[in-house]
């Protein structure tokens, strides 16, 4: 009998029946079950359900004039066999969940192999493939379909291969997810409410490691040379504000830093937060108008939320956390009672929440 056209359920049923007939001589089992798959397949095709194994075997044996299996003397063995059967049924019930999980893990691993590390996408990268979340979602859908199809098909790998594949998926998938969570946590903490402890404390940071922006207005750097601008920012920024000087772009690619120090700032950006183990605030400046502003500030997403903490004791401004799907950018606000002198928020119209510490 050829087995290629037998559904997995019927193949399972047939093997259960043969197991239940195991007390008979092999030739009798072969005679009784030689056509089993063909018959049940035809019956199921006619709309009948797959029969109950025990009732089926009892009918088969009594009609064939053969005895029912004598009560097994070793009751423990029977109980064990039954327990294994119950366990197998339970595991089989969980199979569809495994089909979904392995599809997800597959996409996670493919994403890990094809996507470059990027703090801003930490935590959302699980299903990004080649840097694209849409590609990831598409691949996830395709993987689920494929995984379920495979699970329901008759195409079965040898069990060692299946177990090996599952182990690889689970191991690498779990490692990837763990790393991802760690990166996400790191990214959140380096921008957050002082998870650095004393690590970043000092000039420009408070004892909690948070950035305190000066309450003075951001100096106007336009018209200054880059060297003067640098000094002005060092004076103003107390060590937590850096200038991101973009050299005149493609037209003068070989310009040195010394040469650039004489160039004049033509534009400056609003301050924005740069993530890191000790986060800092950066201001992009454009020299001589040859370069465009760093693209960092162009990734601001209006949907982001921001929050600003005001330190009650120093009334210094604390830029804390802004989160955005695309990037993290600070929002400034003035401490209560302080005249508003700081440059406007890089994202006009975005509501800021202000809370008091302590």
């Amino acid at each position: 009998m050829s087995l290629e056209n037998v559904s997995p359920e019927i193949a399972r049923f047939a093997s259960d029946v043969r197991r239940a007939l195991a007390h008979l001589p092999a030739d009798q089992i072969a005679e009784l079950t030689g056509d089993l798959e063909a018959n049940v397949t035809a019956s199921v095709a006619d709309g009948s359900p797959i029969p109950d194994v025990d009732a089926y075997v009892a009918e088969l044996l009594s009609a064939a004039g053969l005895g029912l299996p004598s009560p097994v003397p070793h009751n423990n063995k029977k109980t064990f066999v039954e327990a294994v059967a119950v366990l197998r049924r339970a595991v089989r019930g969980l199979e569809p969940m495994w089909w979904l999980l392995r599809a997800f893990l597959f996409v996670v691993i493919i994403g890990e192999l094809t996507t470059n590390f990027d703090v801003s996408s930490a935590g959302t990268r699980y299903i990004a493939v080649a840097g694209s979340q849409w590609l990831g979602i598409f691949l996830l859908g395709a993987s689920i379909v494929g995984s379920v199809w495979w699970g329901r098909s008759r195409f079965v790998l040898p069990s060692w291969a299946e177990i090996g594949l599952a182990a690889v998926l689970v191991l690498f998938g779990a490692l990837t997810i763990r790393d991802e969570l760690r990166v996400a946590e790191l990214a959140a903490s380096s921008l957050g409410y002082g998870d650095h402890g004393g690590q970043c404390a000092g000039l420009g940071y408070d004892s909690m490691g948070r950035i305190g922006l000066p309450t003075d207005p951001v100096p106007d750097l336009v018209g200054l040379t880059s060297e003067e601008a640098d000094q002005a920012i060092v004076m103003w920024g107390r060590g937590v504000v850096m200038l991101n000087v973009t050299f005149p772009g493609p037209t003068l690619p070989m310009v040195s830093e010394d040469a650039a120090s004489d160039m004049v700032v033509s534009r400056q950006s609003d301050p924005y937060l740069v993530a890191g183990s000790c986060p800092y605030v950066s201001i992009d400046v454009e020299l001589d108008g040859h370069t465009s502003l760093s693209t960092t500030t162009s990734t601001i997403d209006p949907s982001m939320t921001s929050s600003t903490v005001v330190d009650a004791t120093t009334t210094s401004l604390l830029v804390t956390e802004t989160t955005s799907p695309l990037g993290r950018v600070p929002t400034q606000t003035t401490a209560p009672g302080t005249p508003s002198t700081i440059a406007p928020s890089p994202v006009p119209g975005v509501p800021t929440t202000t809370q008091r510490e302590g």
């Binding site: 009784l32 056509d35 063909a38 019956s43 029969p51 009732a55 009918e59 009609a63 064939a64």
Partner: protein, 113 residues
């Protein structure tokens, strides 16, 4: 025929005869016999009991079998009556007629008066 345990009990007694009768007109494979019995009105017939009966009649020499390859599905084992099976059918049919006539007469007379 209703699906009652009674009919199932009755079926057991006459299944040999019914299977032999089905196969006397045309050879058939396992499920084919089931289907023909059901079409004839024995809707309660349990598949496994038919397969067991086929196996027993085969072992008793009343049936022969041959395998027919099938393109779409598993190969099928066809059963055919042997000469022995045919004479057994004739003898059993006579027993059945006598038996059923007697029972029918009894049941009919119980229905009257």
């Amino acid at each position: 025929m209703s699906s009652s345990p009674d009919s199932t009990q009755l079926l057991k007694g006459v299944l040999d005869l019914a299977v032999l009768a089905v196969l006397s007109s045309e050879d058939g494979y396992g499920y084919d016999v089931v289907r023909r019995l059901r079409e004839a009105g024995l809707r309660d017939v349990a598949e496994a009991s038919v397969y067991g009966t086929l196996r027993r009649l085969f072992a008793d020499g009343f049936l022969s079998s041959y395998v027919v390859p099938s393109d779409e599905g598993p190969h099928r084992k066809y059963y055919a009556l042997t000469p022995n099976g045919r004479s057994h059918l004739v003898a059993q049919a006579a027993v059945w007629r006598d038996f059923s006539q007697a029972v029918s007469a009894l049941v009919d007379s119980a229905g009257k008066d």
